[in-house]
């Protein structure tokens, strides 16, 4: 049986909850070993690897990113930003028994040092089915403002 939209949404919602509640170490285990976390500048790029992105994280860089956020040694994450994200507008683009591609919208509000900031994004998940349940093979976060000036983001989108 193909992966259903309901299964995908349940998994994506779990990821969102982990990120808002700072469960970054647990979050790492949601990815495949070759998985990528990508925040592109150019949402239309064919091959993000050949382009400059805001983030193009393999397993090592994701681990580094989490270590940095939890270390207490990064002044921009000390104290950390609080975030609330809401995902919706899910659409299954492709699905079969072992993998699927889901697109959705993400609205995120950030609060840090008395300042509220907002980031909207189109997010695409490439999920794969493993013995250990669904995993992220690719998460691509296309910020609505990706080609404009951002403010710094010391958390995980």
């Amino acid at each position: 049986m193909s992966i259903t939209l309901a299964d995908a949404i349940e998994f994506i919602t779990l990821e969102a909850d982990m990120l808002d509640y700072g469960q970054f170490k647990e979050w790492l285990s949601l990815y495949t070993p070759d998985g990528l976390y990508i925040v592109p500048i150019d949402p239309d790029a064919d091959d993000y690897q050949k382009k400059l992105n805001y983030a193009y994280d393999n397993a090592e860089m994701r681990q580094n990113r989490v270590t940095r956020l939890l270390s207490g040694r990064a002044i921009s994450a000390m104290p950390p930003a609080h975030t609330v994200r809401l995902l919706g507008r899910y659409r299954m683009l492709e699905t079969d028994e072992t993998k699927c591609i889901v697109r959705c919208a993400q609205m995120l509000t950030e609060m840090r040092q008395g300042r509220e900031r907002y980031y909207s994004a189109n997010v695409t998940f490439h999920l794969v089915k493993t013995d250990d349940g669904l995993k992220i093979d690719r998460k691509i976060i296309c910020l609505l403002t990706s080609t404009e000036a951002l403010t710094t983001v010391s958390y995980i989108l």
């Binding site: 270390s71 710094t152 010391s154």
Partner: protein
């Protein structure tokens, strides 16, 4: 009439008043006396690869089009139709045979000349098209760096850059024999004054404190390379507000020390390159990929910063836009350019492991400097042992604030310039 602040009372050789970051009147004076009257960096040659290529950007607060015409000449044109003032181009970059105002269809050439207006009869004989081109700024370039200015009387760019030119040449060796090209940029704003960023590019003192978490994320060898605050580096005042901060002296000239062993973090790249290039060339490419060991601060708005261009744009007294422009080898091996992109993403930009912490520090300077009255910002680090080279240029240790003193010396010259004051009064 509002009394303007007196710049001379705000900045001394070794200190400045905290209000330089938050006085809105002073900010307006800076826009007139600094950003209107100096050479302002607008583009790199590779941003305009072909005849007809253009980008849009800003000179101070003024929107401009930087355009390469059919003959290859570069023009910097105010992005303002001569009819009713609308911007004639809102694309960030592209290729265009002409710029047509969307409001009434006035059409301008790549050099800014007014070519045609719809229904010209309505003007009778009164419309002299030759008198109504897009307003052109003065443009000069050095080694691919294109600058523009409103000031017809300023010294040639060559003279303005002076001893900084040698450092620009050294910086461009990151092309490893190929020309340098820009490869995209990170753009972000921070809620603070532009001078806080200007200072930071020549501040090595903060590095091991602010960038602890970045240093935690790299291998031991790289940590050692970045352990430079007690090393043999230096800061040198290059005149006209420019300065260079050499953090890693071994990485000043990337064509030297080619016999040095390839760092661990570049072993994989070196192996891959070895399939296509002889050993000597592999070493040159790998050294270039690692970036330069210095920051060249070109007053007032651009820096050649280790491995990228850092460009600042003041948006308001307490808001500044910063671009970190990635660079690479134009025609060089793609795998090497990809490594450069990943290195850039690692430290730079709003999601990098370095920039957010810098931004946090600047944000705090802006907010903290509002506390109290008449409290100085200190600029005296390294002053005691500051010395003069044979060339006459001042230098001190790598963590010295010599570069900031250089910038503020030029700031004071600009802000108290009689011609500038008269011009602003008109």
């Amino acid at each position: 009439m509002t009394l303007l602040p007196d710049p001379a009372s705000l900045v001394n050789e070794d200190r400045a008043d905290g209000s330089i970051y938050n006085n809105a009147l002073l900010y307006d004076m800076e826009m007139d006396r600094i950003f209107k009257r100096n050479w302002i960096w607008v583009a790199h040659r590779s941003d305009l690869p072909d005849p007809g290529s253009f980008i849009t950007t800003f000179v101070g607060q003024h929107p401009v089009i930087v355009s390469r015409d059919r003959k290859g000449e570069v023009h910097v044109l105010l992005n303002r139709c001569r009819h009713r003032g609308a911007t004639v181009c809102e694309h960030k970059s592209g290729k265009a045979a002409s710029f047509v105002c969307p409001y009434h269809g006035w059409a301008y050439g790549q050099d800014g000349a007014l070519r045609a207006v719809p229904q010209p009869k309505g003007y009778g004989d009164s419309l002299d098209k030759s008198k109504l081109p897009l307003v052109s700024l003065r443009v000069e370039d050095y080694n691919g760096m294109i600058f523009a200015t409103f000031n017809a009387d300023i010294m040639p760019l060559d003279e303005w850059l002076g001893p900084a030119k040698i450092w620009i040449d050294l910086f461009m060796k990151q092309g490893a024999g190929w020309p340098i090209k820009t490869m995209g940029e990170h753009k972000f704003t921070f809620p603070g004054n532009w001078k806080i960023q200007l200072e930071n590019t020549t501040d090595a003192y903060h590095f091991p404190i602010v960038h602890k978490s970045f240093l935690d994320s790299v291998d031991n060898q790289t940590q050692n390379i970045f352990d430079f605050v007690e090393g043999d580096g230096f800061v040198e005042d290059l005149g006209n507000g420019h300065s260079v901060m050499v953090m890693i002296p071994e990485l000043v000239d990337l064509e030297e020390n080619l016999d040095a062993p390839i760092p661990e973090r570049f072993q994989k790249l070196a192996e891959a390159l070895s399939k296509d290039y002889p050993p000597e060339k592999v070493r040159q490419i790998v050294r270039a990929v690692g970036g330069s060991g210095f920051n060249l601060n070109l007053y007032p708005n651009v820096a050649c910063s280790m491995a990228f261009f850092r460009v600042l744009r003041p948006l308001a007294v307490d808001e500044t836009e910063i671009r970190h422009i990635a660079i690479g080898m134009d025609g060089g091996p793609e795998i090497a350019n990809e490594v450069r992109l990943r290195l850039h993403e690692h430290f730079q930009g709003p999601l990098g492991f370095g920039t957010p912490d810098d931004s946090e520090a600047w944000d705090r300077v802006q907010r903290g400097a509002l506390a109290g009255y008449n409290i100085d910002i200190l600029l005296n680090r390294g002053l005691e042992h500051e010395a003069k080279r044979e060339s006459g240029l001042l230098f001190s240790d790598v963590t010295a604030e010599t570069g900031m003193r250089a910038a503020y010396r030029q700031w004071l010259t600009d802000m108290t310039c009689e011609t500038a004051i008269e011009e602003a009064a008109q």
